[in-house]
């Protein structure tokens, strides 16, 4: 089972879990803050809306199309 950190907290998830799912498993499910300051969460689940973009190991990535891996660092808050 991969263990990642989500906003600094450790989280153990089932193999094959997307980072989008991890956001709710280990937090409130939100992924980013919009330009006017609203918290947002994944919407389309399929790589279109870009609402799920988070920072993974220092890179901007889509949470819904990224699988959780051991040692991954996910940040949802700037």
């Amino acid at each position: 089972m991969p263990e990642l950190t989500l906003d600094g907290r450790p989280l153990l998830v089932a193999p094959g879990t997307t980072v989008a799912a991890a956001l709710l498993l280990g937090g409130d499910g939100t992924s980013r803050t919009s330009v006017s300051g609203q918290r947002r969460a994944p919407v389309c689940g399929m790589g279109i809306c870009q609402e799920c973009r988070v920072t993974i190991d220092g890179q901007r990535r889509l949470a819904c199309q990224t699988l959780c891996r051991d040692g991954m660092r996910v940040e949802s808050r700037p």
Binding site: V13, A14, P15, G16, T17, T18, A20, A21, A22, L24, L25, D28, G29, T30, S34, V35, S36, Q38, R39, R40, A41, P42, V43, C44, G45, M46, G47, I48, C49, Q50, E51, R53, Q59, R60, R61, C64, Q65, T66, L67
Partner: protein, 418 residues
Amino acid sequence: MKVDILIIGAGPAGMAAALAAAPSGARIAVLDDNPAAGGQIWRDGPQAHLPPLARDYRQRLEAQANIEHLPATRVVALAGPKALLVEDPEQGRVIEYDRLILCTGARELLLPFPGWTLPGVTGAGGLQALIKGGMPVAGERIVIAGSGPLLLASAATARDNGATVLNIAEQAPWSKVAGFAAQLPRWPHKLLQSFGLFHPGYRANSHVFEALGEGRLEAVRLNIGGQLREVACERLACGFGLIPNLQLGQALGCHIDNGAIAVDAWQATSLADHYAAGESTGFGGSEKALVEGAIAGHAAVGERNAAQRLWPQRQRWHGFATALNAAFALRDEVKHLARPDTLICRCEDVPLAAVADHQGWSQAKMASRCGMGACQGRICGGAAQALFGWQPPVPRPPFSPARIDTLLQLGADAHSQA
């Protein structure tokens, strides 16, 4: 990298195309932006249950030595004649091809309504995809709204994973939904798949009015057959049917007709050596995608007899697609749910008031930044087309946000070709 046949999209259409073309010995690559093959309907994950047919296609794809599957790879830009710049988590690179098959599928049509940006609101197919990827919904109260058989599929996935589905609000009138259901015995397999999932909370002639909550969804106000009703819930999944993903076809210069990539009987587009199959040529479900993909695969390797043998089967699923699209056509009410302060562009937080008075998409974009954000107008452009009839402009690269080192490859490549 250079291949004989490059296939964009590893859903049912892309997999069928690859498997049909493979016996010719051609060198084939199938790229897809998801981590696993399967597309929308056969999406894998910890909470997904793949049907045997999906497993069979995936195993055969893996087993073919001349098919290379490139997962987690997206198309970033055109890189010259018959060449595309692509990016995966590790690298950016140019793939040259001799023939291309576009199997880019469809996305959900998301229409704006007050509160649709609240966390807890997702697409209908979106909810299904997120659950399959492991998102927990056990114990949640869920409202599903929008249009089409996907609402029922999404409800079934939510229920199977421990959620309570309170309501399913279908915007189409009863007469049309019932008429569609009555035709379903013509496609017996589909009967099981969609209307076998009938739910006691299902209401036609109904739609979402607004989503309510402070910082996250707390309740939904529904219009059920003309009566407003407030329902407390943790989640709202709302999608108004599917729209073909055209961006790449459009950028390549393929002729677009009626919101879909136009193809002839061989699934060939208006551009020589470029084919298209599946939902990108029009919404119609996985059986249509499979048969169109196989025809495109055969045609792309010159096996016209094999392709032609599949025409009657395609005809049958085109009949289903026509019935589906007629039954779930959008009613005017659902195009007027947004209020002046409702955000239309979720990327740049642009409200309806800032775009509604413009003549067309380009003007609105210039004045308000609507459509200039990360999704490149894939969400708000689809909505603006439904709401105002604005034609989406030809997309500009990068087609999706890309890393600088990937884009630099394009410069290097352009220089070496110059």
